[in-house]
Subunit: 180 residues, 2 copies
Amino acid sequence: MDVRTVCLGILSRGSATGYEIQKAMKEGWPSLFFEASYGSIYPALAKLTDEGLVTCREETEVGRPDRKVYSITPEGDQAFSQSLLKPLTPDRYRSDFLAMIYFSDSLPPALLQKYLDDRIREHQSELQLIDELSEGDQTPGEAFLMEWGRRINQLCIEFIADNRDVLEDGVVVQQAEAAE
Amino acid sequence: MDVRTVCLGILSRGSATGYEIQKAMKEGWPSLFFEASYGSIYPALAKLTDEGLVTCREETEVGRPDRKVYSITPEGDQAFSQSLLKPLTPDRYRSDFLAMIYFSDSLPPALLQKYLDDRIREHQSELQLIDELSEGDQTPGEAFLMEWGRRINQLCIEFIADNRDVLEDGVVVQQAEAAE
DNA sequence: GCTTCCATGTAATAGGTTACATGATTTG
DNA sequence: CAAATCATGTAACCTATTACATGGAAGC
């Protein structure tokens, strides 16, 4: 699922500007599964407009660029529904944090501690974000994502707290050999 | 952390061919935080060799391309250690699955069910992979990643099983309004 | 007075994937 | 007998990021 499709999906929930779409990907529910910068969102919206999948209503503004409110068209709705029928591509996950864990024996212990502390704080921020998003009514998808996000972040915080000594003490774990 | 750096990190654990590095990113511990295709790995190794961060020993093979075994140099070791000192970039996560959840009200119910079933199977496969990787001795980093992977995947399986009815019944969740 | 928010967009660049090219050996 | 495994590499392509360009209004 590329920027194009996610923009279309967000617009299927209601009209928005490019700026608002980016905000949704950064601080809204979509931030839990996607992110993109202006440099990809604006061209995507321009292309979707060319193809007739969205329309654009311009509102003249003073002192800043005209506000362009994009709305999905019936063709856009159909295109989006069809894109959901295509097989899902595998999740793409890339984590400097987990890489750092894997290579943590090449790391100064003080830095390892800092990275772990930082990480806990990041998970706490995300829990707070989810709390803020959770105010008001929710679609089933939002309710599911909310609890999902809570559980995952809680688990991560708890897990780091409970298991950081394995990394910090640098003990090599040996497999119990019951077979001998 | 780009392909270049992860290749270097993997080579810091022992010599390997490009093929083996790709396998590690696909089926080894590194698969938990990184993935890359040959098209990026081979050029990265060539460049690292040019820069003197790795060396390459060629073993003549019959019926297939020469096997090129890469080994990290002292300069490479140092370069890798230093790259771990640079601030970690935020995790990058992109999930068609969670996007599908978010937009699940635009989805035929039968397809939603299939996606959820498939997802549970994927998490089970990953648990199995982790079990296979867990045989033998482990570094602290590996032990941490092992348990991390187990817990996350177990949580996901359990969570989907427990909460899928929220999506499948399509009930709109309303916030309890205690303040009124 | 500084920072953040609003608001759009482009150009250069980075970083990667996909498909292609080749082909023997082992496993089911 | 087909498929997977081993094994390397390139070229075309795609997608997205980063940095730049612009600037007023509102909040702290």
